[in-house]
C-alpha cells in the first residue's frame, strides 16, 4: 500500500489516475481548489477501494501556502511515496498576446506554482531518499508554436526544471517523472473538433501508473507522441517558422 499525494486532484486525468490507484488499495491525499468536489471524489475513491482518502482545499497560486500544505498532507498520509502534480489551465493564447497579465497568470498557474511545489517536494524526497515525483507536462512544451506558445513555454519550463531535479535526486534514489500527454479529451478541450489522435483521460492514467511502476523518466502518452514529437523537433527552425501550427 502506497501513500500518494495528488495536487490538482479534480482534473480529469488526475481523477482517472486516482481511480486506478484506489482500485489497488492505496492511501490518497487529494488537493485542489474545489473542496466540495474533492469530497465527492474522495467518497467515490473510497468505494472504489482506496485505503483512506484525505482532502483539503489548496489554491496552487497561493505560493506561500505550499510548504504548510505539503507538511499537512505528509502528516495525513503518514509519509509520501508518490506525489503527482496534475493541475493546469489551457489558457486563451490570443488573450495572452493582448494582455500580459493574462500571460503571467497562465505562467504562474502552469509553471511557477509547479516549480514552487517541486522545490518543497524535492527537498523532502531528497531527505527521505525514496519515492516518486510525477508531473503532468505536455507535448506542447517540446516546441513553441504560434497557437499556444504561452502554455507551451510554461510546460517547457517545467520540463527543463524536472530534468535538473531528476539529475539532482538520482543520487537519492528518487524517481522524477515527466508526463507528456498529447491530445486528451477533457473538459479543457471539449469544444475542439476531435480527430483520431484524441484519447480519453483513462488511457493517460493507465500510462502514468505504469510509467511510475516502471521507474521511467519521461513518458509520452499515448506512446506514439514520442515519435511524433521527435519528428516535429527535427524540423529546421527556418522551415518551422513558416508553418501554420
Amino acid at each position: 500500500m502506497k501513500k500518494i499525494l495528488i495536487i490538482g486532484a479534480t482534473s480529469e486525468i488526475a481523477e482517472a489516475t486516482a481511480r486506478l490507484w484506489a482500485a489497488q488499495g492505496h492511501r490518497l491525499a487529494l488537493r485542489g481548489r474545489d473542496g466540495e468536489r474533492l469530497r465527492a471524489i474522495a467518497v467515490d475513491l473510497g468505494i472504489r477501494g482506496a485505503g483512506a482518502v484525505d482532502t483539503a482545499p489548496l489554491d496552487v497560486n497561493d505560493f506561500d501556502a505550499h510548504a504548510d500544505a505539503i507538511d499537512a498532507a505528509c502528516r495525513a498520509l503518514d509519509g509520501i511515496d508518490i506525489a503527482l502534480i496534475a493541475h493546469g489551465t489551457l489558457g486563451d493564447q490570443k488573450a495572452c498576446e493582448r494582455d500580459f497579465r493574462r500571460a503571467l497568470r497562465e505562467l504562474d498557474t502552469n509553471a511557477i506554482s509547479v516549480i514552487s511545489l517541486l522545490t518543497h517536494l524535492g527537498n523532502r524526497f531528497e531527505a527521505q531518499r525514496h519515492g516518486t515525483i510525477a508531473v503532468i507536462g505536455s507535448v506542447a512544451g517540446d516546441r513553441g508554436r504560434q497557437s499556444n506558445y504561452v502554455y507551451g513555454a510554461a510546460k517547457g519550463a517545467v520540463a527543463i526544471f524536472l530534468q535538473g531535479l531528476r539529475n539532482r535526486l538520482h543520487a537519492a534514489g528518487v524517481q522524477v517523472l515527466t508526463i507528456k500527454p498529447g491530445f486528451v479529451d477533457t473538459r479543457l478541450t471539449r469544444s475542439f473538433a476531435k480527430g483520431p489522435l484524441w484519447v480519453g483521460p483513462g488511457r493517460i492514467a493507465a500510462d502514468i501508473v505504469s510509467a511510475i511502476d516502471g521507474k521511467a523518466d519521461v513518458v509520452y502518452t499515448p506512446f506514439w507522441w514520442r515519435y511524433a514529437m521527435l519528428a516535429i523537433r527535427a524540423i529546421p527552425e527556418r522551415l518551422f517558422k513558416t508553418l501554420r501550427l
Partner: protein, 433 residues
C-alpha cells in the same frame, strides 16, 4: 456540434454542455427552452438528441455502497461497465444487464432497459429503490416507489422527459464467479424455439439469435442461449479493450449475401443440438462490446434498429407474420434477437410486456423505411409496441397506440414542471409536449 445516436441516424446540430455536478446541471438548464439529457449515446435513434443537450458523463461518482444489502448509490452518469469493473471482483453483479455495458445508470433508468433475465427478474428499474431527480424548475427531489410514486413511474422508462436523473440507488445481486455457464440449443424453426423458451422458463438468462433470412419450413430458425452464473471460479471483471473499427465500412458491404452467409455460419456453428460451456460474463451479456464502434459496420448512412414486442396472446401468429414479411423483403439483419418477456411493470412508458420481443438492424434506406411502416401496422394490429430507445422513425399515431398511458405520463410531467423544459427530437416527433 453534430450529434447522433448509436445508429448514426438521424444526425442533428446541437449545443452541448458538460456539467460535472448537480449545481452545474441546474445552471446548464437555465434560460428558456428545453434540454435533453444524454449519457453514453447508446440509444439508437433520436432519444438523446435535441437543440440543447446535457452530456452527463461527467456525473460519474459512486456515492455509497452498503456491503450488507448490496445497495449501490451512484451518480446518473456512472456506466454499467464501471459498476461491473469495480463490483464483480467483490462478488456483486448488476441485477439486469442489457446488451452493452457502455450505458449510464441514468440512461438505463430512462430507457428502463431489460436483459436476458426479464422473464424472471423484470427490467432494470425493478431493482432501483430510489432516484434523485432535477426538475424543470431547478428543484431536486427524491422519488421512489413510495415517495412521489407517480413521478417515479413516469421517470422509469420516461426517456429523460421528467427531469435529469442526478443519482440512483440500485440493488446489486451477489455472485460467486464471473463466469457464465452457457447452454446453446439449436431450434430448426419458430415453433421449436418458442417451445424451447417454454421448456427453459426456469433458466436465469435466456435469449435467441434468430436467422431472419430463413424462409418456408426454416422460418424462425434459431439458436437459444441459456445462462446461469457459475457456482465457483474467479471473480474477474472484463479487462480486454475493445477492438476498434477505425473507419466506416462501405455502406453496401452488409447486404443480403453477407448477412445470409453470416447467419448460415452462425447457425451451423452449433454442431450439436445442445452444447454447454463456460464463458466470461461479458461475452455472454455483451458480445458486441468486443468491437468498439460496431455501428460503423453499416457505413456512413447509419442504421435503424427495430425492436417490437407482441403480447403473448398474439403470440406465434403475429411473430410469424412479421418474420414472413421480413424474409420476403430480403432485408434481414445480421443480428435478430428474440426474447420472451415476463410481465410488464407499473411504469407509464416502459417497453416490456408479457410476450415476445424481436430486435433487428436495418441499414437506413427508403425501401427499409417503407418496410418498417408495414411492420408497424402488423405490430399495432396485434396489440404490440416499439421500443422507444431503439426508435428513430415511428409515427405519433403508432406511439400513442402502443403506449396507451401516454396521457397519464403527460399529466405527471405537467404537474412536475417538465413541460417545455425537457424534450428530445424524438419526443417532439411523438407528439409529446
Amino acid at each position: 456540434m453534430e450529434l447522433c445516436g448509436w445508429g448514426r441516424y438521424p444526425r442533428i446540430d446541437a449545443q452541448v454542455s458538460y456539467p460535472r455536478s448537480a449545481a452545474q446541471c441546474a445552471r446548464s438548464m437555465g434560460g428558456a427552452g428545453s434540454v435533453v439529457a444524454r449519457g453514453l449515446g447508446r440509444s439508437y435513434g433520436d432519444s438523446s438528441l435535441g437543440p440543447r443537450v446535457l452530456d452527463l458523463r461527467g456525473l460519474d461518482h459512486f456515492l455509497g455502497f452498503d456491503q450488507a444489502t448490496g445497495v449501490l448509490t451512484c451518480a446518473g452518469g456512472v456506466s454499467l461497465g464501471d459498476i461491473l469493473r469495480v463490483f464483480v471482483p467483490r462478488g456483486w453483479f448488476l441485477p439486469v444487464t442489457p446488451g452493452t455495458r457502455f450505458v449510464t445508470v441514468g440512461g438505463a433508468i430512462a430507457s428502463d432497459v431489460h436483459g436476458k433475465n426479464h422473464h424472471v427478474d423484470g427490467s432494470f428499474t425493478d431493482h432501483v429503490s430510489g432516484i434523485e431527480l432535477l426538475l424543470g424548475n431547478g428543484e431536486r427531489v427524491a422519488v421512489s416507489p413510495t415517495e412521489a410514486p407517480e413521478l417515479f413511474h413516469a421517470t422509469c422508462g420516461g426517456m429523460g422527459l421528467t427531469g435529469v436523473i442526478l443519482s440512483a440507488s440500485l440493488r446489486l445481486k451477489p455472485i460467486r464467479s464471473g463466469g457464465i455457464v452457457e447452454t446453446t440449443i439449436r431450434a430448426p424453426d419458430l415453433d421449436a424455439v418458442l417451445a424451447a423458451f417454454d421448456d427453459n422458463a426456469g433458466a436465469s438468462y435466456s435469449v435467441a439469435w434468430i436467422d431472419c433470412l430463413a424462409r418456408g419450413r426454416h422460418l424462425g430458425r434459431s439458436l437459444l442461449m441459456l445462462g446461469e452464473h457459475a457456482a465457483d471460479g474467479p471473480l474477474a471483471a472484463p479487462s480486454a479493450t475493445p477492438w476498434p473499427v477505425p473507419f466506416d465500412l462501405p455502406a453496401g458491404l452488409l447486404n443480403r449475401a453477407t448477412a445470409s452467409a453470416f447467419n448460415a455460419l452462425f447457425y451451423g456453428k452449433a454442431l450439436r443440438e445442445r452444447r454447454t460451456r463456460r464463458i466470461p460474463f461479458a461475452r455472454f451479456f455483451c458480445p458486441l462490446d468486443a468491437l468498439a464502434d460496431w455501428n460503423r459496420l453499416y457505413g456512413r448512412p447509419g442504421f435503424v434498429q427495430y425492436q417490437f414486442v407482441l403480447p403473448a396472446a398474439a403470440g406465434v401468429a403475429g411473430l410469424r407474420e412479421v418474420l414472413g414479411r421480413i424474409a420476403a423483403s430480403g432485408r434481414g439483419s445480421f443480428l435478430a434477437v428474440l426474447k420472451v418477456f415476463g410481465p410488464a411493470n407499473a411504469h407509464h412508458l416502459s417497453f416490456p410486456l408479457a410476450g415476445y420481443t424481436l430486435a433487428l438492424d436495418f441499414k437506413v434506406e427508403p425501401e427499409v423505411l417503407r418496410l418498417l411502416d408495414q411492420l408497424d401496422r402488423i405490430v399495432a394490429d396485434h396489440g404490440g409496441r416499439l421500443y422507444l430507445t431503439k426508435d428513430a422513425r415511428m409515427s405519433e399515431a403508432t406511439f400513442k397506440a402502443g403506449y396507451p398511458r401516454w396521457q397519464e405520463f403527460e399529466s405527471v410531467r405537467a404537474r412536475y414542471h417538465a413541460i417545455g423544459r425537457f424534450a428530445s427530437t424524438q419526443s417532439r416527433r411523438l407528439g409529446l409536449q
